[in-house]
């Protein structure tokens, strides 16, 4: 079994964060989203991984993952270039995959339970493909699978008006090499892409059985800022958090706090977990860091009240105010305008930024 990890896409819904890097490298609980996928594949016993690169962030992704040895896996890079659809991405991996089965994992997705159960379910039978499903409240908004009593998929329907089930496809698949012939037979859809659901439908029509696995834990597509915050909350809720850094006397801490070895919570600061604070970051006197916040490396926080937020890193946040439900890009600084005249806020805001003042 091999892994194919999709890391293309423009990240347009995450602008301006993605103006300077790919969406798969946005950190959740101070770890790039893509690393969760690598770890999930490794946990499922998959150590040969093809990473599909699009037109954006190729060098950054290769710099992070390298040859995979630091994760105990072997990585091959596959440059898809134009985003011609998930089936095109899979097709580009044909030479890499060879005659093996493979898991296809969307690199901007995180799921609590990993892919081990999906892989084991697929391997227990003789299937052309296996798909991960999750129950959703609004099936009209998703690609939906109809399944029989044994869990075999009988039909896939894209955003149905009258959904037969509430089981949505969540972007985790296992394929036999038979999918490559199905992909060869596809034509681009109305949006100019080769659709993976069309390839699965063709496998069904060619007589292959399609396994389904219903994912019960949480799953997040981290495509939008609010999704990053939600994923950050879910991961902090679940992950074991270890305090290795310095908590000075007089600092008030409560709950689970991940504090990197070189991070400091100074006297007079208040931190309430679950929180993650990365290396070389200092939480200074007068600061409140509230639950579900991750502060990236090389940052200084002073006088601010911040909660349910992600600070990616290399930031100075020293304003006396409250920041909630926010995503701050790398190197973003928030200072005080208190002493400045004329009175008012001073902003240098990039394209596609969103501010609520």
């Amino acid at each position: 079994m091999k892994g194919v990890l999709l890391s293309g896409g423009t990240g347009s819904r995450l602008r301006p964060i993605t103006h300077t890097g790919p969406k798969q490298l946005v950190p959740v609980a101070n770890k790039p989203v893509l690393e969760y996928a690598i770890e999930d594949l490794k946990e499922a016993g998959i150590t040969e991984i093809g990473v599909i690169l699009g037109n954006k962030g190729r060098d950054e992704i290769q710099e992070l993952l390298g040859d995979g040895s630091k994760y105990g896996v072997d990585i091959t890079y596959i440059v898809q270039g134009n985003p011609l659809g998930l089936a095109h991405a899979a097709g580009c991996a044909r030479d890499f995959v060879g005659d093996d089965d493979f898991v296809m994992y969307l690199g901007d997705n995180i799921l609590k339970s990993g892919v081990t159960d999906l892989v084991e379910s697929f391997e227990a039978g003789d299937y052309g493909a296996g798909i991960a499903l999750q129950e959703v409240e609004d099936p009209q908004a998703f690609g939906i699978a109809d399944v029989d009593d044994e869990g075999n998929v009988t039909q896939l329907i894209e955003k149905p008006d009258d959904p037969p089930t509430n089981l949505a496809l969540i972007g985790m698949y296992v394929f036999s090499p038979a999918v490559f012939d199905a992909i060869e037979g596809l034509k681009p859809s109305w949006r100019g892409e080769l659709e993976i659901t069309d390839a699965i439908q063709d496998l069904l029509e060619d007589g292959y059985e399609i396994d389904s696995h219903v994912v019960t834990g949480w799953w997040k597509d981290t495509g939008k800022p609010e999704d990053i915050l939600e994923a950050n909350r879910l991961v902090l809720e679940d992950r074991e958090l270890k305090t290795s850094g310095v908590v000075e006397d007089g600092a008030e801490t409560d709950g689970r706090i991940e504090l990197a070895e070189t991070a400091v919570i100074e006297d007079g600061a208040v931190v309430r977990g679950p929180v993650s604070i990365a290396e070389n970051t200092t939480i200074k006197r007068g600061t409140y860091v509230g639950p579900y916040t991750s502060v990236g490396a090389n940052s200084t926080l002073e006088d601010i009240h911040i909660e349910n937020s992600v600070v990616i890193g290399d930031s100075e946040i020293t304003a006396n105010g409250r920041i909630v439900d926010s995503l701050l890009g790398r190197g973003a600084n928030v200072g005080s305008a208190k002493e400045l005249l004329p009175e008012g806020r001073r902003l240098v805001v990039g394209e596609n930024s969103q501010l609520k003042l």
């Binding site: 093809g50 690169l53 190729r58 060098d59 290769q62 710099e63 091959t76 890079y77 596959i78 440059v79 898809q80 270039g81 134009n82 985003p83 011609l84 095109h88 097709g91 580009c92 991996a93 044909r94 030479d95 890499f96 992909i183 060869e184 596809l186 034509k187 681009p188 100019g192 892409e193 080769l194």
Partner: protein
């Protein structure tokens, strides 16, 4: 749709034909690899197929 790729002989990075066609001659996108890749590295059959169906490989 036929998906055509080429594997860099130096580092093993796989490159889709649309990427090769767009650049014609390019440095391998594998980080640190100095190999030069060309659209002409594809087989004649693959190049002909790509040219005949060029529009399918654009977005």
């Amino acid at each position: 749709m036929r998906i055509i790729t080429h594997t860099c002989p130096a580092c093993g990075t796989v490159v889709a034909a649309n990427e090769l066609e767009r650049n014609r001659v390019m440095k391998c996108p594998g980080l640190g690899c100095q190999e030069v890749l060309r659209f002409e590295d594809l087989s004649e059959d693959a190049r002909e197929h790509f040219r005949e169906h060029w529009d399918r490989y654009q977005i």
